[in-house]
């Protein structure tokens, strides 16, 4: 059994037994390749009343390699308007790239992204949104991001500071 299947089975069993944190719901996990979860930001934030969906794609090396994570953009869901989220759903967050670690899980990624949204004060797209979206690869992991620092403090229990970084990138 692939290491990814073994781990995802356990994550799924955990979710079924203990549930998910408030505001996060498992929409579907029909196989061990693609999962969907919805994320809502609680309380008084710029995203009040909005609901987003995250798509996770796993390769056979998960959790050693990072999952490909993006917001769903379709008839039902839109990507949140946020300085680190492109309108095609791609997210520029260091924990999905160079700071990915196998101690993170599907749920902890959702919690981190929920916190990233919760701390947003002003709804705006990344400055280079149109340029990026017109050339972006289908899989966000194929984008090589260059970062500038920008700290958020999420409520994620295991990572005290998660830097979510943005601005320029180049496609590879």
């Amino acid at each position: 059994m692939a290491v990814s299947t073994r781990r995802l089975q356990k994550e799924l069993a955990d979710i079924k037994r203990d549930g998910t944190p408030v505001g996060i719901t498992l929409l579907s996990a029909e196989d061990f390749a693609t999962w969907y979860l919805s994320v809502e930001v609680l309380g008084n934030t710029v995203y009040e009343g909005e609901k987003f969906a995250l798509k996770f794609r796993f390769d056979g090396q998960y959790p050693i390699s990072a999952p490909a994570v993006q917001f769903v953009v379709d008839d039902t869901y839109q990507a949140p308007v946020h300085p680190h989220v492109y309108s095609n759903g791609h997210i520029c967050a260091s924990i999905l790239g160079s700071e990915w670690s196998p101690v993170l899980s599907v749920v902890s990624v959702c919690v981190t992204i929920q916190s990233m949204l919760a701390s947003c004060k002003k709804k705006e797209r990344p400055p280079d949104n149109d340029r990026y979206v017109s050339h972006a690869p289908e899989n966000p992991k194929k984008t090589r991001w260059d970062f500038h620092d920008d700290k958020y403090v999420p409520s994620s229990p295991r990572r005290s500071t998660v830097s979510v970084l943005t601005i320029s990138r180049r496609s590879v």
Binding site: V3, Q61, I64, S65, K141, R144
Partner: protein, 272 residues
């Protein structure tokens, strides 16, 4: 800073095996003959001191952890009393699980990696799924299987992180490698220990040697010693160990395993 995706290179056509069979030190010397004479002198010094073999590892940022893990298990395999060495190592590992939980890692995130490492050590003394006990060939095979090899590397990274977070003596040495600023254990470990592919420095090496209760000697090859000598830096934190120290060879940015033999032994079962 450029973002890379840890683990993505795992499926690439390997330029070099994750861990290679033992080779004569002369093969490394040949690579420097037409280059830095400082390195050639130092390699000659190592050979003259009896370090005639090198086991090379892939330079993927995990080389310290992978080298140490391999040499550690090989030392158990070669111990005069393998039963004592393996049970000793397994009890150290067993005790490391609560330490990981204490710093906030869920069992869920580390148990598969733990099972992989403990299972391999257990196979030194009791036959594995193939009905065989471990020998040098099957150990090499396991370490060249990316799933097994990387799982072991990840466990050692988590163990290093747990040691850094729980050992107050280490806190003073948590320095950002680029800015030189003091860092708190949590962000140091997030950025420079737990992420796959991040190279280890003295702090990580010291922490891991302490956590595994294994003595480590690192020979530093930098090409700069005027006499062509090599300094060995000891990480000796295990006064009561049944195991021989692990000997590593450092060249700028990379770790390999240093050995007093120049070829792997032929496993007994294969000897006709």
């Amino acid at each position: 800073m450029s973002q890379s995706f840890p683990g993505d290179a795992l499926d690439d056509t390997p330029s070099r095996p994750l861990i290679a069979p033992l080779a004569p030190m002369l093969t490394l010397r040949e690579e420097y003959v037409n280059g830095s004479q400082g390195f050639v002198k130092q390699i000659d010094y190592l050979i003259s001191e009896g370090w005639i073999g090198v086991r090379r590892t892939r330079g993927d940022g995990d080389c310290f952890y992978r080298s140490l893990a391999f040499a550690y298990i090989e030392n158990i395999l070669n111990a005069s009393d393998t039963m004592l060495a393996a049970t000793g190592a397994l009890s150290v590992l067993e005790a490391s699980q609560p330490q990981l939980e204490q710093v906030g890692f869920q069992r869920l995130v580390f148990e598969d990696f733990y099972d992989c490492l403990a299972g391999l050590i257990n196979q030194v003394i009791s036959p594995g799924p193939d009905g065989q006990v471990l020998n040098i060939n099957t150990l090499l095979e396991a370490f060249n299987n990316p799933e097994v090899s990387n799982s072991i590397v990840v466990y050692l990274r988590l163990l290093t992180s747990a040691e850094i977070k729980t050992n107050p003596e280490i806190a003073a040495f948590l320095i950002h490698p680029e800015t030189g600023e003091q860092m708190d254990p949590e962000s140091f470990c997030n950025n420079f220990v737990e992420a796959v592919g991040k190279e280890a420095d003295h702090v990580q090496m010291n922490a891991l040697a302490t956590a595994l209760k294994v003595n480590v000697n690192v020979a530093y090859l930098d090409g700069h010693d005027p006499q062509g000598k090599v300094s060995f830096v000891p990480f000796q934190n295990a006064p009561f160990t049944f195991l021989e120290p692990v000997n590593l060879l450092y060249r700028p940015g990379h770790y390999d395993i240093l050995d007093r033999r120049d070829a792997d032994p032929i496993p007994p079962l294969l000897v006709q």
